[in-house]
């Protein structure tokens, strides 16, 4: 084997490798910046496209007006905002306790095969597309609410409405909150459990006073994640809320949410000036609120971490 020949062959190979190294690093820097660029582009586009409606009607006016009638140049978001708050609050009120208790069961009570099996089933539940929940909601939950639940509490309901959406959304967010809460509970060191049990606390006291606090920041993130999902949910509310433009008077009424406003009006009312802009503004509002929540969550999490550190 001619040494000089090999060496020159190898050095051209080295040049090729170094070129690939340089080119790939450009690509990777680009990919890293893509996340930032994508976010920037989305915000810029939405802001720019929602300016026309903000120029004509003040934001405050739109947020506080209950009158949504694009044909008459009226863009009141209030009914949709009320509906969104209703749905979010109800589903979180139903979903959170169940999710927490189920997470406690999986992390602290279940053992061995049972635990693995239940965790896998929860993961499956989290992966089912929401449109399927919507369909099952139509088949099962709508008649349940219309024929049993509403009469039982003395209300009238056609089955579609805020309660129905909230029930189904509670089901959808539960598995997400469970898996994250289980993760943070399981990450806790056994010493915490032992120290608490060691001073004579019962298992439940240990869970309530020690473990839930130590895992607090993680559980808080889990709840917040669930919150974000209910808040921006589109398909299930669009299928089950029954679409009406007035402000709902009772949770058994039909209504609308910010995302369903977009779904219902986008195709049909595109020809009316400013409608497009108003709906894009709704999209921007969704984005900004999620953003604010992420930011607020970060601050709260930091506080909790300091306060409940172990």
């Amino acid at each position: 084997m001619g040494t000089t020949e090999t060496r020159s062959e190898n050095s051209s190979r080295l040049d090729r490798r170094l070129l690939l190294e340089r080119l790939s690093s450009y690509w990777l820097v680009g990919a890293g910046l893509f996340a930032v660029a994508l976010f920037g582009l989305i915000v810029l586009t939405l802001v720019q496209r929602s300016l026309p409606v903000v120029a004509e009607h003040s934001l405050l006016e739109m947020v506080t007006s209950a009158n949504w009638d694009p044909a008459a140049d009226e863009f009141g978001f209030l009914p949709a905002i009320v509906g969104t708050i209703y749905v979010t609050a109800l589903s979180m009120a139903m979903g959170t306790p169940i999710a927490l208790l189920a997470a406690i069961y999986i992390a602290e009570y279940a053992e061995g095969r049972t635990k693995v099996l239940i965790s896998s089933f929860i993961d499956l539940l989290a992966a089912i597309p929401s449109v399927i929940f919507g369909l099952v909601g139509l088949i099962v939950v709508v008649p349940f609410v219309g024929d049993y639940l509403a009469p039982a509490v003395g209300a009238h309901s056609i089955g579609l409405g805020i309660v129905t959406v909230s029930l189904v959304m509670a089901i959808i967010v539960t598995p997400f909150m469970i898996s994250l809460s289980v993760e943070s509970l399981e990450a806790l060191p056994d010493e915490l459990r032992e120290s608490s049990l060691g001073v004579g606390a019962t298992k439940w006291e240990t869970i309530r006073t020690v473990l839930l606090r130590a895992a607090g920041p993680g559980i808080f993130s889990a709840i917040l994640l669930g919150f974000g999902r209910v808040f921006g949910a589109t398909i299930v509310p669009a299928m089950l809320i029954g679409g009406q433009t007035a402000i709902p008077e009772s949770p058994f009424d039909a209504g609308q949410t910010l995302p369903t406003l977009i779904v219902n009006d986008f195709g049909e009312l595109m020809s009316i000036p400013l409608t497009q802009s108003a709906l894009i503004l709704v999209g921007l509002m969704l984005l900004v609120i999620v953003w604010l929540f992420n930011f607020g969550a970060m601050l709260v999490r930091r506080r909790l971490q300091r306060r409940w550190q172990y």
């Binding site: 999710a99 089933f121 597309p129 449109v131 399927i132 298992k203 986008f266």
Partner: protein
């Protein structure tokens, strides 16, 4: 209430909650499989038959167009999104970016991750209007890819982060370049990376909000990338509350297909992860 009663009560509640969640899962899967299964019994080829000419009115033919549309939209989207996601995840590792840079990028990724899919739909539709184009298959692909990107990036980043540092050291120690080492790290983290890609695929194929007004809600077989198309979730969304029982039954059958596909994908991802774990460094011994 004395403390032992409280302890028993909450133990019971915890058990009951877990049971309730499982019961709901059984109900959802059961109802979907039963209602969809019944349609397949009477019309086994419904998923592979092209739609009739008055499909939305009488449900003539089948929903092959939505099955194909889903595949044509989500497969390319997954390919694009996973390439971007893995690249971003590599960039986030310490060989390529400083800690501060990766923190900032992670912050943006978190916001993207929590952004409701409908916002991506609105964003892409805005682009379509700005470009003076028509809603079509290709824009559905773009919207789904944007939706999948932060999901996959998070999985890939987590997987790469948990790959042992010694793989990097060993690779550099042999004179590998940064890029060659990154490829080795990806290999070491492959089970997690693949699980992330499949998760992204499953989320993409199940999402309706992103494609609802970007892909075009077609009722015909998909043509080229610039023709309008539809997907299974859109089909289910549009037909679930139809007054025509025949049309509605297609929504049930489509849900059957979708749920089997999604659950199957997750099963495949678990099996694949197990296979690749053989090669993971220290997999069997640590």
């Amino acid at each position: 209430m004395d403390r032992y009663t409280e302890q028993r009560l909450f133990g019971l509640l915890a058990r009951a909650s877990a049971a309730l969640v499982l019961a709901v899962l059984a109900l959802v899967v059961g109802v979907t499989l039963y209602r969809g299964g019944r349609v397949f019994v009477t019309d086994p080829a419904v998923a592979l038959t092209p739609p009739g000419s008055r499909y939305m009115l009488d449900g003539g033919g089948g929903f092959f167009h939505a099955v194909l549309g889903s595949i044509y939209i989500v497969v390319p989207a997954t390919v694009v999104a996973s390439i971007l996601a893995i690249s971003t995840a590599i960039y986030l590792q310490s060989d390529y970016s400083s800690e501060r840079t990766s923190d900032v990028i992670n912050m943006f990724l978190n916001v993207l991750w929590g952004t409701p899919p409908i916002v991506y739909g609105v964003f892409v539709l805005t682009l379509i209007i700005a470009a003076g184009a028509q809603t079509s298959l290709i824009f559905g692909t773009v919207a789904i890819a944007i939706f999948q990107y932060p999901i996959m990036t998070r999985y890939a980043d987590e997987a790469l982060r948990s790959a042992p540092d010694t793989v990097r050291e060993a690779s550099y120690g042999l004179g590998a370049t940064r890029f060659e080492t990154a490829r080795m790290t990806v290999r070491a983290a492959l089970p997690g990376v693949i699980a992330g890609i499949i998760m992204g695929f499953a989320r993409g194929i199940g999402d309706a909000a992103t494609v609802l007004f970007t892909a075009g809600r077609s009722t015909q077989m998909p043509g080229g990338p610039f023709d309008s198309a539809t997907t299974l979730p859109i089909l289910i969304f549009e037909q679930a509350s139809s007054f025509n029982a025949e049309v509605r039954s297609h929504a049930y059958a489509a849900s059957f297909v979708l749920i089997v596909a999604v659950l199957g994908l997750i099963l495949v991802s678990k099996l694949l992860a197990g296979r690749f774990a053989r090669f993971a460094p220290g997999g069997r011994h640590s």
